[in-house]
């Protein structure tokens, strides 16, 4: 197994956290993993991305160029991600903020109104978890149970946060399953 996943969006959308969850879950599953963030002098409002490489072998390159799976949280991300996707890859698009459609036909696309679904859950900040659910359901790079285990680990003190995150995650899973 060798997956290269990209997550991108506005600062503040929880992009890095999604990547982190993917990475930790992979580690839990005994895989090699690299998590690489974008970092910059850019302040909030700039575009933020990260990439996660998950593999059964020792990982070389820290960067990825052709994602096998990706999440586009905002319009700017989609513009960058669409042409980069590896043929056959899965692209999750946050429909709440991205009005446009993907034109490539050699990749799989899941449109998920992540922010709207999050708002339905009563916390519009968990859109990122919704897209993560959508991603791992469409392309099982890690199991949702690993992700949940990781969250239990990372957010032990905040039971409420944990709960809403889990619900957002399964909402995302359900969305992909239902589509």
């Amino acid at each position: 197994m060798h997956e290269e996943i990209a997550v991108a969006g506005f600062g503040g959308q929880g992009v890095l956290f999604v990547g982190r969850l993917l990475a930790e879950a992979s580690l839990l599953e005994g895989r090699e993993v690299v998590w690489m963030p974008s970092y910059g002098a850019e302040k909030r409002g700039g575009t933020v991305w990260c990439n996660v490489t998950i593999s059964d072998e020792k990982i070389g390159d820290l960067f990825i160029t052709r994602p096998t799976a990706a999440i586009a949280m905002n319009p700017a991300s989609l513009v960058k991600l669409e042409p980069a996707m590896k043929s056959g890859g899965l692209l999750v698009v946050n429909q709440s903020l991205v009005p446009s459609k993907v034109s490539r036909e050699d990749i799989r696309v899941v449109y998920v109104p992540a922010n709207d679904l999050a708002t339905e859950l009563g916390d519009d900040s968990v859109g990122n978890l919704v897209t993560l659910g959508a991603l791992v359901t469409g392309c099982p790079v890690v199991s949702t149970s690993s992700i949940i285990a990781v969250m239990d680990n990372l957010l032990p003190k905040n039971q409420r946060r944990l709960e809403i995150n889990k619900r957002a995650l399964s909402k995302g899973c359900a969305w992909t399953q239902g589509n």
């Binding site: 002098a41 302040k43 409002g45 700039g46």
Partner: protein
């Protein structure tokens, strides 16, 4: 209720100054830097020195200064802006260089350069933006961070026994004979911003009159690294920074006082 286009007949009460490029700031929402930049641009417009002004940028969130102003500008290495400005002024006395420096830049790594520009009485102007934190690098303690204040490098709040005391820059620099005008102002509300503008303007006029070093310290919010909403950040500034950093003029040599007096007479009209 219908849209309309602005008639040229309408009086402009406030408009973006000409000396500011039509280019968005990269600052975070509610950052005080934007206010100070704008004031400088207004003053350059009003003093009609766009052709002589030189922005000597520092390294910090204002690193890009020269991109925003519509006149000559240049980068300087972290902390060294006063040295760069000194050279420019000495080489071209008709130019009006000013440094724009953060508190990390001016009061930490650049301490020697600002002290000596002041001691030499260089005919330059320094706008010193004190936001009590290293903004650009992610909110570490600055020399001006308050006692007890959280930063990413004082996880339990600044403890003097570990990290010392905040430096009051104006108080320190006004002990130097080369300083002509030293003042501390703030941007916590519109009235304060207006005073800030007056002070910065006087600083530039001090330079234009060849009276020596002029420095204005501006207390300014860094909402992101203070971890406060912008409006709350201003409240915090008033509550916590003003007591440690009292506003006022710390050095006004006679010739500058005369300039100021002239001002007052003028504005009376």
């Amino acid at each position: 209720m219908t849209k309309f286009s602005i008639s040229e007949l309408d009086t402009v009460l406030y408009h973006r100054p000409e000396s500011l490029e039509d280019y968005p700031f990269h600052f975070c929402p509610g950052c005080g830097h934007g206010i100070v930049f704008r004031l400088i641009a207004e003053i350059v417009d009003e003093l009609n020195i766009k052709e002589r002004a030189v922005c000597v940028a520092c390294v910090g969130c204002s690193v890009n200064s020269y991109h925003y102003f519509n006149f000559d500008g240049l980068e300087s290495a972290h902390g060294r802006a006063p040295a760069v400005a000194t050279a420019i002024k000495r080489c071209h006395p008709h130019l009006v260089p000013f440094t724009y420096q953060g508190d990390g830049d001016l009061a930490a790594i650049g301490t020697a350069e600002i002290v000596h520009a002041c001691a030499r009485g260089e005919n330059i102007t320094t706008i010193f933006v004190n936001n009590a934190v290293y903004g650009m690098t992610g909110g570490q303690m600055a020399p001006t961070t308050l006692v007890g204040m959280y930063s990413t490098s004082t996880p339990g709040g600044r403890k003097p026994s570990l990290s010392g005391y905040p430096i009051r820059v104006c108080e320190m620099l006004s002990t130097l004979d080369g300083t002509a005008y030293v003042a501390r102002v703030s941007v916590h509300n519109p009235a304060a911003v207006r005073k800030t503008k007056q002070a910065i303007k006087l600083a530039f006029r001090t330079q234009l009159a060849n009276l020596g070093m002029s420095l204005v310290e501006v207390l300014s919010p860094c909402p992101v690294n203070w971890r406060l909403e912008p409006v709350k950040a201003l409240e915090w500034l008033v509550k916590h920074m003003l007591p440690q950093y009292p506003l006022g003029e710390f050095k006004v040599i006679e010739a500058v006082a005369a300039l100021k007096k002239g001002d007052r007479l003028c504005t009376k009209k």
